[in-house]
């Protein structure tokens, strides 16, 4: 069974903290994605990666960075968390332009 896992289901951080969200896929997919999901706004792409050490900005990259040192792992980094980054974060992976496989999400609250 294909799997995308995320390091935490729930996370609470303080303003200004550095936050790491990790995503691991076991499908040997080249492409990995980070989205944030907010009520009324749907899914918005933050960053994606099409190969190890390669990344491309999505629609809302400001305040975020990413790291992909290994094919199976894609990390989202909030250098200095702010309250407007409170959201649900979803990771996904794909091998083609067709289907993306999503992880269960991390609900991040920044106080």
């Amino acid at each position: 069974d294909v799997k995308v896992t995320q390091s935490s289901r729930y996370l609470v951080k303080r303003t200004g903290e550095k936050v790491f969200l990790e995503c691991v896929q076991d499908m040997d997919h080249e492409n990995m994605f980070w989205y944030r999901q907010d009520p009324g706004l749907g899914l918005r792409l933050i960053y994606f990666s099409y190969d190890v050490k390669m990344k491309e900005k999505g629609d809302i990259p400001e305040g975020y960075s990413v790291s992909r040192e290994k094919k199976e792992r894609f990390s989202l980094i909030l250098e200095s968390a702010s309250t407007n980054q409170t959201s649900m974060y979803l990771c996904a992976s794909s091998s083609t332009t067709d289907e993306q496989f999503f992880g269960p999400g991390t609900r991040l609250t920044v106080l």
Binding site: G40, L41, G42, L43, L45, F48, D59, Q100, F101
Partner: protein, 111 residues
């Protein structure tokens, strides 16, 4: 610019039909549909490609009108398991992994 989905929410009784629309202001190459059940990851339903090709693995049908830049998802004889939020994802060109997702349509099926 995000595609617009309509309706935003719909409530049905089991056995009733529903149509969810996804409209884009840009020319489209493909439209993807996903369903997300409450508290779970979004799951791929199908992809519709310019030229009429359709791929999917659910017993749900959809159409793609390239000229009108819109797609519709048809849910017939709704089952309780159809409840969830439906997202369309649009791609403007072939070979792109960068989809723009709509804001979502919440569908609830009542017994």
């Amino acid at each position: 610019q995000q595609p617009v989905q309509s309706p935003q929410a719909v409530i049905l009784r089991e056995g009733e039909d529903a149509v969810i629309n996804c409209s884009s202001s840009k020319a489209l190459y493909s439209v993807h549909w996903y369903r997300q059940k409450h508290g779970e990851a979004p799951v791929f339903l199908m992809i519709l490609l310019k030229g009429g090709e359709q791929k999917g693995h659910e017993k749900i049908s959809a159409s793609f009108n390239e000229k009108k830049q819109q797609s519709s998802l048809y849910l017939t004889a709704s089952q309780l398991s159809y409840s969830g939020t439906y997202f369309c994802g649009t791609a403007a060109t072939s070979g792109t992994y960068k989809y723009i997702f709509g804001t979502g349509t919440r569908l609830k099926v009542l017994a």
